[in-house]
């Protein structure tokens, strides 16, 4: 297993037609239910990632400064960071690095603390109050270990989703960006020590809804997990330091009040 090459999934947003085959294939493979929704004045549905929706096509109507219109589609989901904030903060070991360097989630170990929900710079893990567990994409780990592509990649009819050996995929992404020209760029290989899901974006990252321009592990997480936590273990004084840092951790970024969506009834407009 350890000899397996590091894999990267490439999302070429310029090839996506928003057929949403991936959104369905993900639910099918991972046995997640479809929940009742309403039409809210957009093709994007559900409204956001949620416990049963690990990947979501975001629909965005974009006009550039010259008034040229484009309907942007972006497949959102776990980026599988090399330096993953969720793994850092997870106190139970539920979130972990797999031998393939992707970020796995062992739900049996999850204690529903939602630390990961607060820490993730991409706002990916989602909590379900009825199970008291967190959910997210695991890049179809059980498929990867059998040599199969993730369900989303398998379902993609246009070649917007591909997976392969890390260096090859990064090379492929840059070649595509060069071909596209303009503002096209590769997103993902340069931060959090590189993600295992990378994008080819047609526009600058700031154009896209819900896409952080400079994602990083939150400073509070770095201070606590990398610096203070090891110290705190040295003595009882650590309890005090721990309380202090816990405040720091939750002060700037509280988990969103979304644990109530288990019935999935998001009524009405936006």
């Amino acid at each position: 297993m350890n000899n397996k090459p590091e894999l990267v999934k490439l999302i070429d947003t310029t090839l996506c037609t928003a057929c949403r085959g991936c959104q369905v294939a993900c639910k099918q493979w991972n046995e997640m239910p479809g929940l009742r929704t309403r039409q809210r004045g957009t093709y994007q549905n559900p409204e956001d990632l949620q416990w049963n929706t690990w990947t979501l096509i975001r629909f965005q109507e974009y006009e550039d400064k010259d008034g040229k219109f484009q309907w942007i589609f972006r497949k959102d989901g776990c980026m599988h960071c090399t330096d993953a904030a969720c793994v850092k903060v997870c106190p139970s070991g539920a979130l972990h690095y797999t031998p393939l360097k992707t970020v796995g989630l062992d739900r049996n170990k999850c204690i529903g603390c939602k630390e990961c929900v607060a820490a993730c710079p991409f706002h990916i893990p989602r909590y379900n109050a009825s199970t008291d567990k967190v959910y997210k994409c695991d890049l179809c780990y059980t498929r990867l270990t059998e040599g199969l592509p993730p369900a989303c990649v398998k379902s993609c009819p246009t070649g917007a989703l591909t997976i392969g050996e890390k260096n090859k995929m990064i090379k492929k992404a840059y070649a595509r960006v060069k071909q596209l020209g303009g503002d096209a760029n590769v997103y993902g290989d340069k931060f959090v020590d590189g993600t295992h899901v990378i994008y080819v974006l047609q526009f600058k990252p700031e154009v896209y809804d819900e896409l952080p321009v400079k994602p990083s592990v939150p400073l509070s997480v770095v201070i606590w997990k990398d610096l203070l936590k090891p110290l705190s273990l040295l003595g009882a004084g650590g309890v005090v330091a721990g309380s202090f840092v816990h405040y720091m951790l939750h002060g700037p970024k509280a988990p969103p009040p979304e644990g109530t969506n288990e019935a999935g009834k998001t009524e009405g407009g936006e």
């Binding site: 928003a18 949403r20 959104q23 009742r36 929704t37 009405g268």
Partner: protein, 537 residues
Amino acid sequence: MSKDPQSANYYQNYPKFFVSFLKALWDDKATKENGFGYHWLPKMDDGKHYSTMHMVDAMYKGKVKGYFCVGADTAVSTPNSNKVRKAMENLDWLVGENIFNNETYEFWRGPGVDPKKIKTECFLLPAAATMEKEGSQSNSGRWVQWKYKAADAPGDGLPVGEIEIKIMAAVKKLYEKEGGPNAEAIVNLKWDYLDKQGHYDVIKVAKQINGVFLEDTVIEDKAKGTKTEFKKGQLVPTFGNLQADGKTACGNWIISGSYTADGINKMQSRGKEDPTGLGLFPNWAFAWPVNRRIIYNRASCDVNGKPYNPKRKLLEWTGEKWVGDVPDGPWPPMADKEKGKYPFIMKTDGVGALFGPGMVDGPFSEHYEPFEGPLAKNPMSSQLINPAAEIFNSDMDKLERASEKFPYVCTTYSCTEHWCTGALTRWQAWLLEMQPELYVEISEQLAKEKGIQNGARVKVSSVRGEAPCVAMVTKRFKPFTVEGKTVHQVGMPFNYGWLFPEDGSGGDSTNMLTPTAGCANTFCPEYKAFMVNVEKA
């Protein structure tokens, strides 16, 4: 028939195909003396058409009393749904065959319908889904591919083929006992397509479609100087062997050769070779006719049989024969004035045509406004709408052309997540989650003009009906300027119906709005342009 010696006049073979078809229906009851039963066949009347719109119109006028609705949801899919649903009230009986229930089969308890007042007797027969039955499946590339049964249908579900065979067998029995109109056509029918277990014998049907010798037959090929003997019961190798004297039976001549005389089902072929490199895959499944992958393929070559594009060699004349795809006829290229034939062998003149007999309009393209459009006068000519198009004029076929009451052009389409009426896909929670209910897409300009917020409930109406739904305000729709005036266009999918989701939250058919109007030649309904109003609900 053409007198041009270079036209193959292929339809001179039509009597062979047609008599073989009649023999497939009535076997030994079809004889030379009784014209092979031709007079038993139902005939179409001159000047009459039989499209879905015509059928519904006849139903509305009380002329159609029974309706088999197989794998369709007419109450949602067909223009002017209010008329369609009203028309169904005139039926004595309705039989549905489908894998899910739908708005058509339940029309008797639809919105605004009092079930006590409906006299129609309705049946719904559960059908097997495609993966629950064996048989052939044809694609638009003319490949006939065999597929296998993966699982039993749930409950009492049966393949539609089996349902039809069993119903017709019962009808036949009843006719044998009681008689009835056109009884000969029914009691004489060859109808032995159930196997020993009483199930649909799909192989037997496939063989009957392919064609079979009904007597020992010797076929002489004068050109090659050969004689070939076939035994009674042997399958015919190709439609070239079909006979006009009743010695062969064939359900559909173009499929002939799909089941070989040696008993090989070519529809099951799964060879992945592609010798031409053009993606023809000649050994995958069977392509009708005679496994020819591209019809009229000799038109890809010049008069000497050399491919126009040598890099894409579909087939080529070697001087003795054609090599590559199965040629459309064995004749040498056109340069041979004696034996050569033109490539378009099914056309009377043997050549390609932009316009031909049977079309009610043309040959030159002309601009007409939609049947119901925003203009009172065609800016291009004095003729507003296509004069060749049929006009339906029942009391429910109302029209409001260039009307202030219905000022917006509406167009309809499908969303990716649902298939047609959504009768199959709305039951799928994953798909319904993504596209849960009916919406109307409107421009930001129209939304502003009407004070409509994105996501707000609105009422879309035409002179024929209403469709309450959700407004989707989008930059993708922009107003047009037509004859100096602003004309707004709105767009709606047509994938919803009242039956499911059960709480009615999906809305109902967009065809409540559409007119009974269509193409003058094909009667493909004019779903793409008609007039509506959009108001805050």
